[in-house]
Symmetry: C2
Subunit: 96 residues, 2 copies
């Protein structure tokens, strides 16, 4: 299993638009992408501009396949217009 934490810092006036698009990405991914165990959108409770997608994938190959899917390639490049500063994405293995 691979865990992904993709953290985004969104401009205050773009938060609502980002959420609409990110929800679409979640829905398409959960419906269509093989190997997706969990794919969820979160908002920091003390800073609404921090929006993070937390994912679980069966393996790295299926995660790579997700990143080449039509919905990923259409939606994720649009996020660049909404960000205040670069985000961080970590890929993790579970230790315990």
């Amino acid at each position: 299993m691979i865990k992904v934490v993709a953290k985004n810092y969104i401009k205050a006036d773009k938060v609502d638009e980002f959420i609409v698009l990110a929800k679409k990405l979640v829905q398409e991914t959960v419906q269509k992408d093989a190997g997706c165990i969990r794919y969820e959108l979160f908002q920091d409770i003390s800073n609404p501009q921090v929006l993070t997608i937390i994912e679980e994938w069966e393996n790295k190959d299926l995660l790579d396949l997700h990143m080449s899917a039509k919905h990923f390639k259409e939606i994720v490049p649009l996020f660049g217009g909404f960000t205040e500063r670069p985000g961080e994405t970590n890929l993790y293995q579970k230790l315990v």
Copy 2:
């Protein structure tokens, strides 16, 4: 539900020691703390010095109670001696 992502940047020569202690924290928390839905330790697959605990709690009150538990107060302050630079902890609400 509250999601917590607690990311730590650990000194290279302290990674093994950190993992031993963090595993103890995970085990004690899962066994003893009310309201704990998930509490898991992850290591970045490209940078083993990035070690992150990802948690799910029934609510904020039970998360606060966890942070006042004996095992939390004994183990977490020790992490300070292992870190290369300050980590980040985010508390999240789930949007979708």
